[in-house]
Amino acid sequence: MSDELEVEVRGAEESVQVALLGELDISSAERLENELRRVEEKDPRMLVLDLRTLRFIDSTGLRIVLGADLRARRDGRKLVIVRGPEPVHRVFRIALLDRRLEFVDDPDSAGGAV
């Protein structure tokens, strides 16, 4: 069990925010996946994944985010990602996912995102 990643879930009903704190890799992947699915099961209209306090992500983390995006599209839910610091966002950029996924600079923009 890893203590490197904290997951904070805020909000309920229509819009749920999931904030990640610390570092995301294989040691915390399953726990995050479970947490995301738990949130998704409650069928929110929007899920905001907040990466501002995430310090590290690798391909394991990318896969989890992609999984959440796929499930969102399948379930008719909106997934918006609040951009993380450069070491995190660059990984999405290198993987050419910065255009494919929906990123915003802050959570308040998520509500207004078309």
């Binding site: 890799d25 690798d58 896969r63 070491p87 660059r90």
Partner: protein, 136 residues
Amino acid sequence: MRRIEVHLEARPEAVGLARRTLDELAGLVSEPLLEDLRLMVSELVTNSIRHGDLGREDRIRLLAEVADRTVRVDVVNPGDGFHPPSIEPTIYQISGWGLFLLSQLADRWGVDGGDGTRVWFEVERHGERESPRRAS
């Protein structure tokens, strides 16, 4: 020339420990390069955990060598000594995104078989700020 070698228990926490090990290089290499190294080491050690078929007594060896022009990192899994090397090359096991990220960030990389499985990469240090002692 600076060398680091650590032996990590084969568990998921090894990935974060491998990144912490590289913290020793802060100040020796630029921060952007260190970020690249952290990411690539995460990918390689993750691959060892996922596909290395390793048990609790097994140790993953992480070696990092910082020279003037290049940084080289090796991640080595133990071989069991009883069975011949896997026919399926490890390279195909660094699946999808991990391999892609490695190919994007490393200048050279490769897989060596033999008794164990060694995956390595090299990164050029050009573009980093030069040491003040070097002639301009």
